[in-house]
């Protein structure tokens, strides 16, 4: 298993699926990068959701306030002109569906994973910090004329006692 390739393929499928099914819309996958930090200074909307199990991590979606409003408007068939509770709720659900799909894909390799309730932040010039030292796999997507990004970091849980032979490349099994 190549975690990066699997993650990137999975989240690309997830984003395309959510946009085509819930919005009847297409996205254009952009560049993929590996970053060593959580998102740095941000203006806009960022939504986090936690993953836990034998591996643990975080998935997040970041976008501009305008894109968040447009997403909400299209998904709920309403008119959102500013970031309000309904917009934040729509972005939380977007994150839930995308990272939930990724989680389901990863479970075949990493075993059962739990998904937290999403948290959404909207503001200006804020910073985020993750206690994890794992790399973030980041894919940007273009939706019409605006960009958003989805990022995921996953690392083996410290408390995990179960080896993942397919991940570690070993055929041995722990007792």
């Amino acid at each position: 298993m190549n975690l990066k390739d699997d993650l990137v393929q999975s989240l690309t499928r997830a984003v395309e699926g959510v946009f085509s099914t819930m919005l009847g819309s297409q996205v254009v996958p952009g560049e993929v990068t590996v970053e060593h930090q959580a998102p740095t200074a941000n203006d806009g909307v960022i939504s986090f959701i936690g993953l836990a199990g034998s591996w643990a991590g975080t998935g997040c979606v970041t976008c501009s306030p305008a894109m968040a409003c447009r997403f909400c408007s299209q998904m709920l068939m309403t008119e959102a002109t500013s970031v309000n509770e309904e917009v934040l709720d729509a972005i939380a659900e977007l994150t839930n569906m995308i990272i939930g799909s990724v989680k389901t894909d990863l479970e075949s390799e990493l075993g059962p994973l739990g998904l937290s309730i999403p948290t959404v932040v909207f503001g200006r010039n804020f910073q985020t910090k993750s206690a994890s030292h794992a790399d973030w796999f980041v894919r940007r997507f273009q939706w019409d004329d605006d960009m958003f990004e989805v990022r995921v970091c996953m690392t083996p849980s410290e408390r995990s006692t179960t080896l993942q032979p397919h991940v570690l490349g070993s055929a041995s099994q722990s007792d």
Binding site: T21, E93, N96, M97, G100, P112, L115
Partner: protein, 129 residues
Amino acid sequence: MESDVLVVDDSAAIRKILQRVLRQTGMAIRNIYEAGDGQEALQLLGQQKVNLVLTDINMPKMDGLQLLAAMKGAADLRTIPVVMVTTEGGEAKVGEAVRLGAAGYVRKPFSAEQIKEKLADFLPGAIPS
């Protein structure tokens, strides 16, 4: 025959989408009730009779599996079909839902057609002639 449906999801966005999808099916649905978690759903089920429950799994306070178990343990609620509408696609959660007696399963993201098919399975009397 008109039917009443309960939608249980902590996301107001999903509740709103399901309301719209249910109305657009053209099926004879009289009332669509909403609850934000399993506890609210049980309270509402104590006051209103419904013909079908659509519920998320991951919710605060009481999740969808706990709601399902509580309904199957209550004599007056156990015959109401419960369809899970959730991002959870893993065998563990789906298997648990089936074991507890879930009538069906729709994975998010869902299309209006998928929801309509499930309604047709469990609300045959509501299908427009």
